[in-house]
Symmetry: C2
Subunit: 446 residues, 2 copies
């Protein structure tokens, strides 16, 4: 019966004369002349093996997979406080000696391309692997929080006959004898599920954007954490929901991923921090970003900011950190021209049409937009009237209009980018570091 | 503050003089002359509203979304044991009167095409909606069981440069200036994650099969519940894992989805039933299927069964139900010609090559294959040697070989089809009923 290295010390204390079996990867070999210390790595961490010169063990290389048997012994200097004195060793899989880089060393010198080219190898570095332990907690806690609030998880098609956002950044798929597109979001489907009577739904799934730019904040395929909820009146309710949801996710990451956060020197905001995160209107946010740019030496003082662009996102979080002690800002009341056709108008800004404001919002965390949401227009006639203003034809939007035709409650929702949230929790330089197998314009393998 | 209809009776008992607010869809209207009884449907179920003739309520149609306020009263004859005496009523969204069919009636007369064409409407029928409440539990309990056993959830790319299974049933994607394919399975990725040191991983995500046949058991896009685990010796360990996993999923469905099971007259096997599920070798299974066919009047006695085809799946489950009292059979030791190149050989059948047997298995539940798995070949040289026998070239499989090159433990895994499992739990006639927005050769909307 195999034991994990993290349980070795406890076993050594309890039954020092019982032989144990351990298995894992050869993380490090230290030859002391006559005796070899091998650090064994398994999914639980690192443990020490001691091999006598006359052990008769077969030859093995770094990163080979081995299985050993032997007696445990407490040893304060060994990782975890115990070591295994090896009586027998078996090589389960020999690693080729031409490792592209040292897994057990400092990875800060390895470039991003090499890390991504060699995922099965780079993930063996505990620091790199910790990114995906954090991501696992994000996905788990997102779902758990919502299930506790009566949300139903849904799985919807990623193959659509048209654009859901009215955009053009679509990847085309040859689907038998016709053309389909990879979904940019589950927008239509999650709204349909609210209208179907489920009222509260969430989906965790891939979404696709055929955007050509290659920046540290873009992926052409990412995991979208989507939710939609019925019987709301305003985007402010969604902002409160997101605040509580983030508090839960951050709390779970703090509870479960302490060593992973420590590996990156990272920490997460607490609930009392999140409670202080301000909500600014788009107009206020633009004004503040420009004021902040004037104070900030990094911003070019001459260029005025006309939009909530990456520079504005950075400046708004800088301001919030200084003024509110938290690196999270909600921006709401975006002008209609910045949002999709289905966004609900702000009452005081007229019923519909360009130039008015909307019940929409973004969340900006540590200088990066991590989510976007809105109340949606649920009135059939209002949508039919608005479509032509967005260059869309009602006859092409039959699927969307069907949702509204037979009784659809007021509703809204938002989506969180899973990789961006992971990136910002750990302070990663590039969002691709938070994707196991990222896709960009050039990278399609592994 | 809105109250759900399921909580109305408790509120009526506790504070009968406190006005309540409820909101939902108009499920049924019964005009008794002078008084109207309206059944209100919300996500929690059905509740009764009473409208006096002089209530002054605006006109509303079936399936409109309304919000009402009034005093609750206990009434044994009302659904849930209480009703709301409406003082004010607001129409939040008026349903067009041309409903394609009655949501509140018997859905057995509505054809599958009409149900799928009108998903936002058909899901309002409680029986149809219950399918996706069960599916939600399947997804949740699959993940929870594996997390408790130290598995990490992963999210991998659905865009691949080639086939993972060596097959040709691929959908092609225009990806900037090159061609990619929609992934048939996360096979390569989940194996890479085992080899990366995570050891135990699972993924819940869409997979794609460009198969042209349109049958009640096929979908061109489905949700695959995938897992992979390191440090196993045989597929028999995977069968035991699947047995326990299914026991957990069925247990959770029984606990959480009692009314949903009842709506379909369905039940799930208990752990003691699953413990009795037999494991047959491919050869034994073929022999049994042919013996069973001879007994069975439905099977054509003249035609011999040469493969574990749908007919054999049905017969094997019939046999198991009669002989073991359980509708689940595991079939292992498939011949190599039936399995992908990465399947591990059975020791007694030679090291590799066609014509030998493999450490592989299928699970057949209630007459349908619901999952498929195997131990995988983790030896680099053995895979390089096997590839040409499957018409594959090592130089095209660099990504796969990279996994094995630098130390890969013995491992294996399996995948469960989420929609098939849902279908068989509830006894649905067609797997498309278990997909919110199914894709087949003709159906690409909604």
């Amino acid at each position: 019966m195999r034991i994990l290295v993290k349980d070795m010390a406890a076993a050594a204390g309890k039954q020092p004369d019982a032989e144990l079996e351990a298995a894992g990867w050869v993380h490090r070999i230290r030859d002391m002349g006559g005796i070899r210390f091998v650090i064994l790595r398994d999914r639980s961490g690192l443990g020490q093996l001691v091999l006598a010169e006359d052990s008769g063990a077969p030859a093995f290389t770094l990163e080979s997979v081995i299985r050993v048997r032997g007696l445990p012994a407490l040893n304060e200097k060994a990782p975890g406080g115990a070591e295994l004195r090896v009586a027998s060793l078996e090589v389960l899989s020999r690693a080729a000696p031409d490792l592209p880089y040292q897994v057990n060393g400092d990875i800060s010198k390895i470039g991003l391309e090499a890390i991504l080219d060699n995922r099965p190898l780079s993930l063996r570095n505990p620091k790199i692997r910790s990114v995906f332990k954090v991501q696992d907690t994000i996905v788990e806690s997102f779902a758990a929080y919502l299930r506790n609030r009566d949300f139903t998880e849904i799985k919807t098609s990623k193959l659509t006959a048209g654009s859901t956002e009215g955009g053009t950044n679509l990847f085309q798929v040859d689907y038998f004898d016709r053309k389909l597109y990879l979904a940019q979001s589950p927008q239509l489907y999650k709204e349909a599920m609210v209208a179907s009577g489920l009222e509260r739904v969430f989906e965790i799934g891939p979404v696709y954007r055929a955007e050509k730019h290659d920046t540290p904040r873009h992926l052409n395929e990412y995991v979208s954490l989507d939710l939609e909820i019925g019987f709301i009146e305003s985007e402010l309710e969604l902002i409160e929901l997101e605040r509580e949801l983030l508090a839960h996710i951050f709390g779970e990451v703090a509870r479960k991923n302490g060593p992973d956060l420590a590996a990156w020197g990272a920490s997460v905001p607490g609930p009392e921090d999140l409670a202080r995160a301000p909500t600014l209107s788009y107009e206020e946010a633009l004004k503040l970003a420009n004021e902040e740019a004037a104070r900030d030496k990094k911003a070019s003082a001459s260029s005025r900011i006309f939009d909530i662009n990456p520079e504005a996102e950075r400046l708004l979080c800088e301001w919030s950190r200084r003024e509110h002690g938290v690196d999270l800002v909600f921006v709401n009341a975006f002008p209609r021209r910045h949002r999709p056709f289905y966004t609900y108008p702000l009452a005081e800004s007229g019923k519909s049409g360009a130039g008015t404001l909307t019940m929409s919002f973004d969340a900006i965390f540590r200088g990066l937009e991590i989510s976007s949401g809105s109340r949606r227009q649920h009135d059939y006639d209002a949508v039919v009237e608005a479509l032509p203003k967005f260059g869309l034809k009602p006859e092409n939007m039959a699927g969307y209009l069907q949702i509204l035709k037979y009784g659809c409650p007021p509703h809204g929702g938002f989506a969180l980018g899973c990789e961006r949230l992971t990136q910002k929790i750990l302070g990663l330089g590039n969002v691709k570091e938070a994707s196991l197998f990222p896709r960009d314009r050039r990278r399609v393998e592994p």
